[in-house]
């Protein structure tokens, strides 16, 4: 083996990094297939947060003493690591938020209310998570923009022909599309979407909440104007999200929240804003969480995003080989390019009943509509589905065990 080969993907060693995976409940080993809702945390992340709190904690940006300088350096190092992780041109293009929902809302307020004109349109799709749909409904109602919905095909892929139609009149100001569906696993052709949007004079926002976990993201290669993701799905802590925004947009956008750290100077009646990205980070940021996210990024990069993607592809292939053979099981969507997430339904069991059964077998899956009601309507699955989603610690044996449990479940409700 030459020195450049990726480290072999040592699943046992990886699993040993996640304390919770060793846990049992009612005598059943935990089979955690809900990483798409939120991933488990490796000890490296936990330890980084503990170390911060035990020996390097202070508020950032404000103190001239060494502890605060240290915390500031650590916080800014996290920003730099995020920038490298998604290949942003500069760390100044990275805004920390509370989660990706807040990242999308920041765009809806600062860019939407601040730079779109009433009458311009925002284009989202039928397979958006509510976080990338509700903000545009609210923007429409408050600001008078139009909301256009791009159709998906029956296979669960974005209908690019329809997107072209929606862009044709040149009135779209923003295309806000998921980079990977949290229900179907569909990975969207981001570079192509961006090109189409830009040619029509629109900016483009990708909801990368799922994609950033499963693929190497390169915001420059896809030419994203905005890119959002969330720490807790990337093996990091809750309470921290990321918005990448191009530098010229950050300069042009008015701030979103007002308070400390986002100002240059404050008078009783008038204030001026700090330079980006500080302009968009009001108040004490999620310091400990940024440091945890940094550790999470170090963790996945040590394994390698390519290796993670390959591992998850193998799992998806395995799942698609094993599961469709189960009688009465329907799997939603059939996109060409899909990540480690899929939704399914058993013909004689409601998703809620099914997840209760699976839980008893130790298997954690989500039941319901996964914050994607319209998508479930679109696919004729109004009463919900179960969703299995993979992390880098998921094994093929866990998928086999899921298959076995599904067969038993069908018998149980027969």
């Amino acid at each position: 083996m030459d020195g450049l080969s990726p480290a072999p993907f040592d699943i046992a060693a990886i699993r040993a990094d996640f304390p919770i995976l060793a846990s049992e409940y009612r005598g059943k080993k935990l089979v955690f297939l809900d990483s798409g809702a939120s991933a488990q945390k490796p000890r490296q992340v936990i330890q980084a947060m503990v170390t911060c709190m035990e020996s390097a904690y202070a508020n950032v940006h404000r103190g001239a003493y060494h502890l605060s300088e240290q915390a500031t350096a650590d916080y800014e190092a996290a920003r730099a690591a995020v920038a490298r992780f998604i290949n942003a041109p500069s760390e100044a293009d990275i805004i920390f938020t509370a989660n990706s929902t807040m990242a999308m809302n920041l765009v809806a307020h600062s860019f939407g209310r601040g730079m779109l004109k009433p009458g311009q349109a925002v284009i989202a799709s039928e397979m958006e998570h509510h976080a990338n749909l509700v903000p545009w409904q609210m923007l429409r109602d408050a600001h008078g923009t139009e909301l256009r919905i791009c159709r998906i095909t029956d296979a669960g892929e974005l209908d690019l022909g329809h997107l072209a139609e929606l862009l044709a009149d040149g009135r779209a100001g923003l295309v806000a599309i998921t980079h990977m569906s949290n229900v179907l696993g569909t990975v969207t052709p981001a570079a192509q979407i961006a090109r189409m949007a830009h040619e029509a004079g629109a900016k483009v926002l990708f909801d990368g909440s799922q994609a950033a976990v499963h693929r190497r993201v390169d915001v420059q290669a896809i030419d994203a104007d905005f890119y959002a993701f969330t720490g807790h799905k990337l093996y990091g802590p809750t309470g921290i999200g990321v918005l990448y925004a191009k530098a010229d947009l950050q300069r042009a956008m008015p701030p979103f929240l007002g308070g400390g750290d986002m100002i240059a100077s404050v008078g009783l009646h008038h204030s001026t804003w700090a330079e980006p990205p500080a302009k968009f980070e009001a108040g004490t940021p999620a310091i400990i969480e940024a440091i945890g996210l940094h550790a999470a990024i170090r963790y996945v990069e040590a394994i390698g995003m390519a290796a993670i993607e390959a591992h998850e592809r193998a799992l998806v292939d395995h799942a698609m080989a094993v599961l469709p053979g189960i009688e009465g099981l329907r799997i939603l969507g059939a996109a060409q390019d899909r990540g480690g997430v899929f939704a399914f339904a058993l013909d004689n069991a409601h998703s809620h009943d099914l997840s209760t059964l699976l839980d008893r077998a130790g298997i954690a899956v989500r039941a319901g509509r996964h914050c994607a009601e319209p998508l479930h309507e679109r696919l004729g699955a109004e009463s919900g589905t179960c969703r299995a989603s993979f992390g880098l610690y998921t094994t093929a044996a866990e998928i086999d065990y899921l298959a076995e449990a599904l067969v038993s479940a069908r018998r149980f409700f027969a």
């Binding site: 069991a349 809620h352 509509r369 479930h376 009463s383 149980f412």
Partner: protein, 156 residues
Amino acid sequence: MFDDLRDLYQEVILDHGRKPRNFRRLENATHHARGDNPLCGDKMDLWLAFNEDGSIADAAFQGRGCAISMASASLMTETVRGKTPAQAKAMGAGFRELAMTGHCPACDAALEEDMERLTPLSGVHEFPSRVKCATLAWHTLNNALDDPGGKEASSE
């Protein structure tokens, strides 16, 4: 594989879940309400018709939901028939207690027999996220009684 779940999914529940009774629109209804469980997106419509003495003459429902919520609605429409609104509400309160704790010490003798019909659902108390499935029908009943016009109920 799931034998220990027979406590939750007793045969009567699976049966009512598969073939809910009174699963129809009630044409002569005077009261209606819609129930909604945001967690799973399940919805149900409940209709009530009354006797001249003010007791419930007929109860029927339509909707979609899991076995627990279908069975609970089905059993409810059967047990409330002939009850006054006050009695039906007392049963609902007792049932919520049952669903949350597994028993209902407060359910007095008058209700005992009817409550017994509902005890197969008491197993949900061990499944916190499923309690709402069981109680949705009873929340919706309360709403139909309080506001015949048909406000939305949620099982929060």
